[in-house]
């Protein structure tokens, strides 16, 4: 095989054995890789009603066929499992260097099942796999554990690990890699912790065989020079990171503010990219082989919030900043560093804390429970709760459960701003209706990365569409979801791929992505069969959800989004008219009125 190794490492943690399995070439092609292969394995092997923290849950690390190839930003991996936070699928994506190293070590995918009897880690080096004791690492934060692991394996190895949060089965725990990158959403860290798996360490010096290496290199070079040309003209991502976004979403009136009570935040300027650049930036940081370099290597001198690390990203600034009413970027950055060190999803942490703040201010959460006042704007409360949540200490034990369970505990589940119990990312859907339909229909819950139509509604990429319109959104959300499934499965980064490897119109036609896939794999895809594969993946994920017990009733949004109009900004007066978009979405997807894929649809995708 080319592009793909065609090799899966199956790790039985109960028996502490590993086995290399060959991959069926037809399956490989039909499901692309990464996220696509993972759902096929989950579907074939796992009862979707399995308890997420039980040994029978599968935890999958999956690269794509383009990972570790010359394709620019072919450097991502995904973590796929059943989520303990949502009971739905988890598909968390991360970059950095680990994914490339993992692919170079000779495997496309790691599949973990069972539970080790004591803490262990997996050490892979050029095709060889060892399960090693990790008792000495249990309790260590992400940075400490990474440093020790590199010393006892190989200084050039790369580490993905959990921090105390994952160990403590915190439902919003992340899996961190390269210390500062996060496969964050859906509590994937808790699944890893439930298996007593502290870390996966990889060292790989192999190359990925390519079907058409000369063509691959030529097209990759062409794309890179286009990107470099644009970066030279002025790249906001290079100069400011994703931190330039708060001023934009605030201007449109969709920046999450005080638990999504509104979309306009008076402190926006203080938490924006130019402040990050002036005060905290050491240098831009690229993932492996990336010509953009949107990452931020940063340091905070402020004695109250001193620290160093990477970030914060836009989502983090929205969740731990404006959503909590905090306008101190030093504090937000420190909170971000803590989440990375402890292994927590910054989005879910922030939006769970903001939920607690709203409940406190409304008198639903007594101070005796919270341990301290929890008012919007209190940055120190945010930081304190992050630490408590990672260790399940005091009120942190409830924060660790995520906003839905926290709010339900106090009788106000409507104040948890989630879809399928996954906390909303940084776009208030009342001012960007496509995002509302996306949050309601994504197979993991409220995720922007499941089909980020905000690109078009907010940033005009590939073209500008009206964020407040609903008419065309069912069609476009369908297209974005399938396209993003494809990008995830291929192992590519959305930032470059969406802009440079899809044709520049909003129907998202993957011409150049298809070429790169064919140069890598030789599999003879067309743009049609690529998009069909994306749709296949999305539908198989949907079947998993339905068999797990989710229904049409879960394709919904909080009451605030459906019934409480935005009070300020350009979106003032707007709600999400989900009931006017969802039926058309189901119809376009070939599902019945209950959101169930029809036999005809499944047969057309080869799923029946």
């Amino acid at each position: 095989m080319f592009g793909w190794h065609g090799k899966v490492l199956r790790v039985d943690l109960t028996q502490e054995t590993t086995r290399v399995e060959e991959v069926d070439p037809k399956m490989a092609k039909d499901f692309i890789g990464g996220r696509g292969w993972a759902i096929k394995y989950l579907h074939d092997e796992m009862d979707p009603k399995t308890e997420p923290l039980a040994p029978e849950n599968r935890l999958i690390f999956a690269t794509g066929p383009l990972t570790a190839t010359p394709a620019p930003t072919g450097n991502r991996y995904m973590v796929i499992t059943k989520s303990p936070l949502t009971g739905a699928l988890a598909c968390s994506n991360a970059g950095g260097i680990f994914p490339t190293e993992m692919k170079r070590s000779g495997f496309d995918l790691f599949l973990f099942e069972g539970r080790a009897s004591r803490p262990v880690y997996l050490w892979i080096h050029d095709g060889e796999a060892e399960i090693r004791p990790a008792t000495h690492l249990w309790g260590k934060n992400v940075h400490e554990a990474t440093d020790i692991l590199l010393e006892e394996t190989d200084a050039k190895a790369r580490v993905a690990c959990i921090g105390p949060a994952g160990e403590n089965l915190v439902k919003i725990a992340a899996i961190m890699n390269d210390k500062h990158r996060a496969a964050a959403r859906s509590g994937v860290g808790a699944v890893m912790g439930s298996k007593n798996l502290k870390a996966v360490v990889v060292r790989g010096t192999g190359d990925v065989p390519l079907a058409h290496p000369a063509e691959m290199k030529a097209l990759s070079k062409e794309v890179r020079s286009e990107v470099s040309r644009d970066v030279k003209k002025g790249s906001s991502l290079r100069e400011y990171g994703t931190a330039y976004v708060p001023v934009v979403t605030n201007e449109i009136g969709i920046l999450p503010t005080r638990n999504f009570q509104t979309g306009v935040f008076e402190g926006t300027e203080n938490i924006s990219g130019h402040v990050l650049k002036e005060k905290f930036l050491r240098r831009p940081k690229p993932c492996f082989g990336c010509p953009i370099a949107c990452g931020r290597d940063t340091e905070v001198d402020d004695p109250d919030y001193a620290g160093e690390g990477e970030g914060p990203e836009y989502e983090t600034i929205a969740a731990l900043g404006s959503a909590c009413g905090v306008d101190n970027l030093a504090a937000v950055t420190k909170a971000n560093y803590l989440c990375n060190e402890l292994g927590l999803d910054t989005i879910s942490a922030g939006v769970t804390i903001s939920c607690a703040m709203e409940m406190f201010e409304k008198g639903f959460l007594p101070e005796s429970d919270a341990g301290r006042p929890l008012r919007f704007g209190d940055a120190d409360a945010v930081i304190a709760l992050i630490k408590q949540a990672a260790y399940r200490e005091g009120f942190g034990d409830l924060v660790a459960e995520g906003s839905y369970r926290l709010a339900s505990h106090y009788g106000h589940p409507e104040l948890a701003i989630t879809a399928k119990k996954l906390e909303f990312p940084g776009y208030d859907p009342r001012g960007a209706k496509g995002m509302g339909l996306l949050y309601a229909t994504s197979n993991i819950g409220a995720s922007h990365m499941a089909g980020d139509i905000a690109y078009a509604e907010v940033f005009g990429v590939p073209e500008r569409i009206d964020p407040l319109a609903i008419e065309d959104k069912p069609h476009l959300v369908h297209r974005f979801e399938d396209a993003f499934a494809l990008i995830d499965a291929a192992g590519m980064c959305v930032f470059l791929t969406l802009r440079y490897l899809f044709d520049p119109h909003v129907d998202l036609w993957p011409t150049r992505l298809t070429q790169l896939m064919n140069y890598a794999t030789g599999a003879g895809y067309t743009p049609e069969t690529m998009l069909e594969a994306g749709e296949r993946v999305y539908n198989l994920e949907r079947l998993f959800l339905l068999e797990a017990g989710l229904t049409k009733a879960d394709d919904t949004l909080p009451k605030r989004m459906l019934e409480e109009p935005l009070p300020d900004g350009p979106g003032k007066g707007q709600v999400v008219e989900l009931d006017r978009m969802l039926p058309e979405f189901y119809r376009l997807r070939g599902w019945d009125e209950n959101g169930v894929p029809t036999d005809e649809k499944l047969a057309s995708l080869g799923l029946k």
Binding site: L237, Y244, E251, H274, M449, D452, D466, V494, P570, G571
Partner: protein, 79 residues
């Protein structure tokens, strides 16, 4: 008439020296169009940025009125 111009991300380079935050208030003649406003502060035509007027995207080369808030930022990605 007075209008506000907000310059975000890489368009910050066009902010006048000493500007507070991202916003600058400008005095322009009645009937000024959005494209003319951008030209007065030196944004080249080929930049083709995203333009919002009062937080909403504009379709055509709109004529500005007193109090309009024009925001300019690159057609780029975030996450």
């Amino acid at each position: 008439m007075k209008v506000q111009l907000k310059l975000f991300a890489t368009f910050r380079q066009y902010l006048p020296v000493g500007a507070e935050g991202s916003t600058v208030e400008l005095e322009v003649p009645s009937g000024t169009r959005v494209t003319e406003l951008l030209a007065t502060i030196g944004i080249p035509q080929q930049e083709s940025p995203m333009i919002l007027v009062n937080g909403r995207g504009i379709d055509s080369d709109r004529i500005l009125v007193e109090g309009d808030v024009v925001a300019v930022f690159p057609a780029m990605a975030g996450g």
